[in-house]
Chain length 317, copies 2
């Protein structure tokens, strides 16, 4: 049922040996006390940076470090994340909404990748902020902790950086800017209302949206490699945010952005899984900084198996 | 004019030698490239943890580590932050609002420190979220970056952890819970409207609110030391969040919370300083991860002098 955030990178295709390799870089054992653990987190974060581990997506990408070796690995070892099988009515509603949006936006953009990405990202930066804000206020009212909030707000930061990176590559015209402002205003209010009514369906919707984003960026990479899009230099804001090499290109940027979307896909489907309708229980999702390697290993393997199954059932949307 | 976030701890009382000491632990030089810098941030964060530096308040306290030595230092070397001198009408409005709120809340609570703290913190968790959300949306619309957002959202996380820590110490009765829910609902909407109209005054207001919070927690410490409040064990959630020693007490908790409030005071006054009314310029505030030590040193000294002056003019609110 559960998906660990730390292992999203190769989640669907792990072999046991890959798991071992990643687990050896895990953060701290469940027996450590609150005092040493913080210290060990810092130490492990440093080790992870130095080891060029694929586990480079941590809670926030603000402090991430993505050298050439990591870029090569996420390119070479990328596996499309599985389509989450829609089972309930809620799932199907979320799934259909995304399919509709996808068709609708295809009418407008077709091969204008960067413009399409800008619209996609300005929309994508809304749900994390709405969900983070709503959960924050819920915690203040109910006075029960919930460890999603930071992850959701980090997601909205992450999407904002996607948007700003593309903005440095192209100056949208007035029509596009107007479209972005209207789309954002409409989507913010719509999503806020939906989140009041049914957060479970909303997170499922975002999960599907992210699956589409992964597909879009995979197509982007394909057309970059086919020479249909010019592989310009990555903008400085992106080099700073993801800690990319100084000579990073648009292709490197798309690689890390796609990887972020894979993360968001796992996070949102997991949160949707965990939300019990009519329940006020404080719900915890996996946080690789705060759990023991043993727990994660088991749940990852379980998820791995499940992912493989769902992937075969639904090879494409 | 500017205040560096990293040096808030002893900001008003630095001697030159203290500055040197802290600067030797600064994060990276302005000449480093985007690639190495991320790596060095991790390394420096680790060094800071290990050195028990007073510079333990970083952008987010999520990964902070506060051993006994740091607790002793922030206790021994604490200096009340200066009152920001209200100059403009906007400042005076913000200042009067906080004075009014202070008197109003004194009527209700008097010596009930933990209950008072809960009300204070449930209110305090609102502005960071409102300001972070509004700035996030503004960036999406204007497509110009702004580096406050993470700092503001981290502030709201920080305040939420203050609230949850106190919640583990006392179970508020139904009246108090109701009061919290009403206060939060009213304040959220009021602050949101005010932030639409005049964010500059709003951040000034928060700056003053934080100055009051520092005073309140200083009184709390005084009464703890006088034996008027029982120095119970710190709750587990606080030990985890601040990385406190396993045997941390309520007194240790109040020490780190007070230090957080000093941070918030500096952040909000600085943001208010930087906001130009009728300006859409992307405004950057100091971020000790992203600036050179030289810049910070100068501005800190300048601020230090300014603080001393304002402090003499207004020794108390
Ligand atoms: Fe994105
Ligand atoms: Fe995304
Ligand atoms: Fe607080
Ligand atoms: Fe505060």
């Amino acid at each position: 049922q559960s998906m660990p955030l730390a292992f999203t990178l190769f989640a669907p295709s792990h072999t046991t040996s890959q798991f071992k390799n990643i687990n050896s870089q895990r953060l701290y054992s469940s027996t450590s006390n609150g005092n040493n653990s913080k210290h060990e987190i810092e130490k492990k974060r440093l080790e992870i940076s130095q080891s060029n581990s694929p586990v480079y997506h941590q809670n926030s990408t603000l402090y991430s470090y993505t050298p050439r070796e990591v870029l090569e690995r996420i390119d070479r070892e990328f596996v499309m994340p599985p389509i989450y099988v829609p089972v309930t009515f809620s799932d199907k509603l979320a799934h259909s909404s995304v399919k509709f949006l996808r068709k609708f936006s295809n009418l407008f953009f077709r091969e204008k990748y960067v413009s399409y990405a800008i619209i996609l990202e300005t929309i994508a930066a809304v749900p994390g902020m709405v969900a983070g804000m709503m959960t924050h206020l819920k915690v203040l009212r109910n006075m029960e902790n919930n460890n999603w909030i930071k992850i959701l707000l980090d997601e909205s930061e992450n999407e904002r950086m996607h948007l700003l990176s593309f903005m440095e590559l192209t100056k949208p015209n007035m029509l596009e800017r107007g479209l972005v402002a209207v789309a954002q205003g409409v989507f913010w209010n719509l999503f806020l209302i939906c989140y009041f009514i049914n957060p479970k369906t909303c997170h499922r919707f975002v999960g599907y949206l992210e699956e589409q984003a992964v597909i879009s960026y995979t197509n982007f990479l394909r057309d970059l490699d086919a020479g249909l899009v010019k592989n310009v230099k990555a903008p400085p804001i992106a080099i700073e945010y993801w800690g990319l090499p100084a000579d990073a290109t648009l292709r490197d940027l798309i690689l890390v952005i796609r990887q972020d979307e894979v993360d968001h896909r796992h996070v949102n489907h997991e949160i949707s899984d965990k939300i019990k309708v009519n329940s006020n229980d404080p719900i915890r999702i996996h946080n690789h900084f705060l759990e023991s390697p043993e727990t994660t290993n088991n749940s990852s393997v379980a998820q791995d198996k499940k992912d493989k199954k769902t992937n075969q059932l639904h090879p494409a949307l």
